[in-house]
């Protein structure tokens, strides 16, 4: 082969790559899952009937939690999302014509929720979980649309995202979508029960559990090979919620369903983002839906009539000097609230002996909580948990590592593998 021919070959390849990249960029490979008939607007009567059901669908999809800033106007957006590429602000989805979705057609709304493309063709960032909502049924999307249109319009301007180049180019999301967007909702699996199929729809589409509980790939898309197997988000471990992971934490189907309703269980109280999930969403879900959601996560067709709760893990024995150091710290600083044997105080303080943070594979949540504490929280049904103070300035890295190792070995059956350096990293926010 002559040099000239080789150069021609490289040039041709470069042109081809440029053509393909250009085609992706302008969206030639984007596949909409929104059907043609959605272009037909909904009638006033239809909108009215749909809105009623839409209130429930919007709750199950937890739209409010992200689209309302802390202390901000309802549905007016503004809640910040810190991403590795910069800060994204949730948008105003109230029916205000200037700032919200008041001018959006039914089809615009469907395209946003399921294709990730907003009115006028501008791409949404996947902080909006359209990769999950893609599996929503057109009927449910219609219902949410109808419901949102009945909300009060909020004259609140959208905040500009603060993203670094090239992530501030919305059109570049065509590449992300090509890799990370799957097809539409899988058809009901006839081999599985109605409960399982409903649970799958709730988990995968509406409640978009995978968005936090699935590790992200290099492009920040969900790593489908590790779906629901746990991930670190905002410094917290969103634990493995596959059947195995849930069993390890001590849940079975009815216990999990009740945890999603009340936010409180022997495994602890909901904290961080899951507190908000219960607060704004799952507490309002029907018992049947919560059971379906739980049954699917355990891959069961029905809720077992009676199941013995999962056995507590066997304690792992630790060195006597570790026990001495940790037990002293525990007795002096923890036992006053959590009890001498980690039993907690009902309605006031969570138990530790059965706590999920002892049992999950990563000690991060335990250490994070000791370092940062937890604010007082109100739960459904007049329950409340008192605040836990931060022990950042009272305990050294070594003392926290000892405490984590001893507590997790004793109550969680986990190997004592936390090093003082691990604590130091988390102390610095890592």
């Amino acid at each position: 082969m002559t040099l000239r021919r080789l150069l021609w070959g490289v040039a041709a390849l470069a042109v081809l790559v440029a053509i393909i990249a250009g085609s992706i960029f302008i969206g030639l490979f984007e596949k909409s899952v929104v059907a043609k008939d959605i272009d037909q607007p909904l009638g006033a009567d239809e909108m009215k009937t749909l809105a009623e059901r839409g209130a429930y669908v919007a709750v199950a999809a937890d739209c409010y939690a992200c689209h309302t800033a802390k202390g901000g106007a309802a549905w007016a957006g503004g809640l910040p999302f810190e991403t590795p590429f910069g800060t994204i602000y949730a948008s105003n989805i109230s029916p205000d014509k200037d700032n919200g979705i008041g001018n959006w057609t039914r089809a615009d709304f469907h395209r946003a929720l399921r294709d990730g493309i907003g009115k006028g063709g501008s791409h949404l960032y996947p902080a909006m979980p359209y990769a999950s909502y893609r599996e929503m049924t057109p009927q449910d999307v219609d219902a949410v649309y109808a419901y949102l249109m009945t909300r009060e319009p909020m004259k609140v301007a959208n905040r500009e995202n603060e993203l670094a180049f090239p992530f501030n180019i919305r059109q570049s999301l065509t590449f992300w979508n090509l890799v990370n967007l799957s097809g539409e909702k899988p058809a009901n699996d006839p081999a599985r029960s109605e409960t399982w199929n409903r649970g799958r729809y709730l988990v995968n589409a509406l409640a978009h559990c995978g968005e936090c509980h699935t590790p992200r790939n290099v492009m920040q898309g969900m790593d489908q090979s590790k779906y629901l197997q746990g991930a670190v988000i905002e410094g917290i471990n969103a634990p493995d919620i596959t059947g195995d992971g849930l069993t390890r934490m001590g849940f079975d189907v009815p216990l999990l369903a009740s945890f999603m309703k009340s936010g409180i269980s022997a495994q602890g109280a909901m904290t961080n983002q899951m507190f908000e999930v219960v607060h704004f969403s799952t507490q309002y879900m029907t018992d049947d839906d919560l059971k379906a959601l739980s049954a699917f996560l355990f891959d069961l067709d029905a809720v077992p009539d009676q199941s013995p709760p999962p056995r507590a893990p066997e304690p792992v024995s630790v060195a006597p000097e570790l026990t001495a150091s940790a037990r002293a710290t525990y007795t002096n600083l923890c036992s006053g609230c959590h009890g001498a044997e980690g039993q907690g105080i009902p309605h006031v303080v969570v138990p530790l002996a059965t706590n999920a943070s002892m049992r999950i594979n990563d000690a991060r949540n335990f250490v994070h909580t000791v370092l940062n504490g937890i604010s007082a929280q109100r739960f459904p049904g007049l329950e409340r948990m008192q605040p836990m103070p931060s022990f950042e300035d009272k305990l050294s890295d070594q003392q926290i590592a000892d405490l984590a190792n001893w507590a997790r070995a004793t109550w969680g059956g986990r190997q004592p593998d936390v090093k003082p350096d691990d604590v130091a990293k988390l102390r610095k926010g890592g």
């Binding site: 002293a328 007795t331 002096n332 036992s335 006053g336 609230c337 001498a340 006031v348 008192q386 103070p389």
Partner: protein, 181 residues
């Protein structure tokens, strides 16, 4: 039944307590009440909420820290310097109180409390707050907010906090260099 004990040494109100056998799981509050007869730190909620039980721990660098004794083990105070509400006023050679601390005096003058159950905690909290201001003064405009934030965790069920707040503000304004212009 015998409770397992451990030796405890610490300083309370400038008095050295040397090697006392104290149950391992005993809370500081019980140690103060039952071993030292210092009953001024109040048992309120017993779960770390009301802050009637707090004492001062003076750190090596002189900084004062407020600690809840109802939920903190006595042995956590090993080797530490503790001041309870009994240790704030000046006493004469016979141990009789000769002069209240400025915070205590301010609370009396402002009729800050009624039943007095929460007062030891407020005396402790306000003393620690003034110590913080000595190290890091606040702007005058922020003073009221700073007082609220510092004492917010203390619960009082009689007087509605207003006179405690007022007493601390008046006192802070009479001590030089606690507020910036």
């Amino acid at each position: 039944m015998t409770l397992p004990t451990k030796k405890l040494s610490l300083t309370v109100n400038d008095k050295a307590i040397d090697s006392v056998d104290v149950p391992e799981a005993m809370m500081m509050q019980d140690f103060l009440h039952e071993y030292l007869d210092l009953t001024g730190s109040r048992m309120g909620c017993g779960q770390g909420i009301c802050h009637a039980c707090t004492v001062i721990v003076e750190k090596d660098d002189g900084v004062l820290d407020e600690v809840r004794t109802c939920i903190t083990g006595a042995h956590w105070f090993e080797g530490k310097k503790v001041r309870t509400v009994e240790g704030h006023a000046k006493r004469d050679a016979a141990g009789v109180i000769s002069e209240l601390s400025p915070v205590q005096q301010a609370f009396i003058e402002n009729f800050s409390f009624q039943c007095g159950y929460c007062t030891p905690g407020f005396v402790t909290g306000a003393t620690v707050f003034i110590d913080q201001l000595k190290r890091k003064p606040v702007a005058r405009v922020d003073l009221e907010k700073a007082i609220t934030e510092a004492l917010d965790k203390h619960i009082c069920r009689c007087t509605g906090y207003v006179r405690y707040h007022q007493a601390v503000r008046d006192l802070v304004l009479t001590i030089p260099d606690l507020v910036k212009a």
